[in-house]
Symmetry: C2
Subunit: 418 residues, 2 copies
């Protein structure tokens, strides 16, 4: 008898997480003998806890196909960390109740490090609580910081967006530098890892090619060396372009962005390492500056997604279903690089227990000696991930993004307090 699938999206969305969803749903639809319905959790694991199960059978094949080109998390996502079974058995009992009521035998959880922790904890209910459940993690994070996978679906597209954006803005700044803006700073996501900032440097292999400076959370910020390099760039090239991780930290490990700006009411001013660096440069050198904080624009920029990334996101979703079909359990799907040049990859797998709660930072040999750029090894790693243009179709001048019904099945259990 076919069992139903519970699939959910967790943590910050990416431009391609819905491609993984399409991979899951389309593949499950091809194996109706094994899989029943795909229920999508409304807002991640909350959908299971609150019994808000979206019936994806109500969505047409055409709409599911459109998911491949739609950013955001189409079924809603969440930030929610589960306690362990020992600490909070009630939550897991509730999950089992919901799974039983809706005949759910498969649990696919699509997310980053925290989310794989959720998947890992849920995977334990089989052994610890006697409910037979196949649990598969599907990787997703723009931060590219999951262990045991060569890269993470979502990262290739943000990398392509950031590299293209800083290239474009650099042409702009260079045009104007003679009489106007001389310094441009773009802030990249990444509180603990510098992968996105690093991607800004793809193809910039000569000192004169922007960005001239890249700042990573992995390297303690050296203000004087930074200011010296800014001046050197303006002297040598007429302008200076900087990519800075939001998570740049001082020598004591304190985030620069948390250092002391206050608004007119004396409240701490949150955020923006870019404006902070801009002020620092202005104070030291007096250069006219501009800064950009693309924020969510970067992780939702489906209009300039990497084809490689879309393919891998879809493949990871598809592989999760096929793995479950083959009796694989308690694993996260991975992207394995089998060759760098020419680039080749395949889907692999790694135990959820080993993936959860670890963070992969930039390796030392990816960061240049002065700590402010990337190495050739890093270039070799990054370049394949941004290859190919996966344009969405357009309607009325803007991308045609999927609109789902997102209708939940009737609840079978008594309401609980959220």
């Amino acid at each position: 008898m076919p069992k139903n699938i519970f699939y959910a999206q967790s943590g910050g969305p990416t431009a391609v997480i819905n491609a993984s969803a399409a991979g899951v749903i389309e593949t499950a639809r091809q194996h109706r003998d094994i899989f029943g319905k795909v229920f999508a959790g409304q807002n991640g694991i909350l959908g299971a806890l609150e019994e808000n199960l979206i019936d994806t059978d109500l969505e047409s094949d055409a709409v599911i196909a459109l998911l491949k080109q739609t950013p955001g998390a189409a079924f809603g996502s969440c930030r929610k960390k589960l306690k362990s079974i020992e600490e909070d058995e009630a939550t897991y009992k509730r999950l089992i109740e919901v799974f039983k009521a809706h005949d759910i035998g498969y649990f696919f959880y699509n997310g980053g490090g925290d989310s794989q922790d959720t998947a890992y904890k849920v995977s334990q209910i089989g052994e610890a609580m006697g409910y037979p459940l196949i649990c598969i993690g599907i990787p997703k994070t723009v931060d590219n910081d999951l262990m045991l996978t060569d890269n993470c679906p979502g990262f290739g597209s943000v990398a392509k967006y950031m590299r293209t954006s800083i290239l474009e803005a650099s042409l702009d700044v260079k045009s104007m530098a003679k009489t106007s803006t001389k310094v441009f700073i773009m802030e990249a996501m990444g509180r603990h890892t510098g992968w996105i900032a690093a991607a800004c440097g793809i193809g910039a292999t000569k000192p004169e090619q922007p960005p001239h400076i890249i700042l990573f959370p992995e390297v303690a910020f050296d203000q004087q060396a930074f200011l010296n390099k800014v001046k050197q760039c303006v002297d040598d090239y007429g302008y200076c372009v900087i990519a800075a991780s939001e998570g740049v930290q001082d020598q004591d490990g304190k985030f620069l962005s948390e250092q002391g700006s206050v608004d007119s009411f004396g409240h701490a001013q949150l955020g923006g390492v870019a404006p902070l660096l801009a002020n620092m440069i202005k104070d030291a050198h007096g250069y006219k500056y501009h800064w950009a904080v693309p924020d969510y624009l970067q992780r939702s920029a489906r209009h300039i997604a990497s084809q490689t990334d879309v393919d891998q996101a879809y493949a990871a979703g598809k592989a999760a279903v096929l793995a479950a079909k083959n009796g694989i359990n308690n694993m996260m799907m991975t992207i394995d690089r089998t060759s760098e040049s020419p680039y080749q990859w395949q889907i692999g797998q790694a135990p959820l227990s080993e993936v959860a709660n670890h963070e992969k930072t930039l390796p030392d040999n990816f960061i240049s000696e002065d700590g402010m750029h990337i190495t050739q090894a890093c270039q070799g790693y990054l370049l394949p991930l941004i290859q190919g243009e996966a344009y969405p179709s357009y309607k009325n001048g803007v991308p045609d993004y999927a609109v789902l019904k997102n209708q939940c099945v009737s609840k079978l259990l008594p309401l609980i307090e959220g």
Copy 2:
């Protein structure tokens, strides 16, 4: 005898100003009997004043064609306001010297309001100082604030970028709103006019469609009404997305972005109406927020340019050369809308004297009654301008942007002090 052309780019670059340059150069090359070389001013009018004249004949047809897909100002731009002939005759004498030395009979100036003022002033040297010169203005500004033209080359592309970006980020925010960010604010360029902010609302014709709120410099900011509407949106839709012009002003006409943030050293903190609004919302309602300031990314985003915009930018450059050929003088090329539905346009012209130093703000009937969104009339105006996708070609995963030699001809005059 053919006379040479002086062409220059002025003010902030756009994604398509180089398409106008291509229109000028390709058209001039087709009429070698009338036009000699096209000299491009290095950094706008400065190129003429400093006799830095780029010889575009050294660039291949292929590279000139590539200009159509390259953002920034390929020959360098400047911010430089000329004094009048009466106030500063020496400058104009110098211009005539350079023009004479290099046999320049045509002056094409590609820019916005300030730049058309330059074109207008230079056009006066014919009558006032007896140097025969044909002067044509080529419109360009992301701000879309030039008079007597229906729209400005550069605007359609920034409009397409901003609309797409806020649509994408809105899908992201909506996904997460249940447990995380509920308010997202994107800052749009436009100190005096709200055209770019308005473009964020293209296609958002129902109250639930983001952006839910648009703030314009044309409407005095009403803090209480704004905060009420934010709360209403979060109550009704679960989240609220806001597009805010950088030039939003309070009831006294003071920029919000200049209101009083200071950094930890007590320095005035420049910029960012988005973070300011975010803090205001947090103080009033406590919502978790994110904000984005795309800054130069928006005006250089050639990767998502509007085909309509690229076509019009090219046509304006081409028309300038043909107008000069036909003896037209002292005019700026314009884009005239001959039909809105179906959209049809043609190139027209307007006297430089009437274009210079005026600013076209959003008309009243383009702004909704509550002052925080756009009307159907505005939708009808904006929608045609973002139609069509003019993808650049890609190389190694990023757009293949033109790299010019930008070699200046030998100077024939004694050096002057800049």
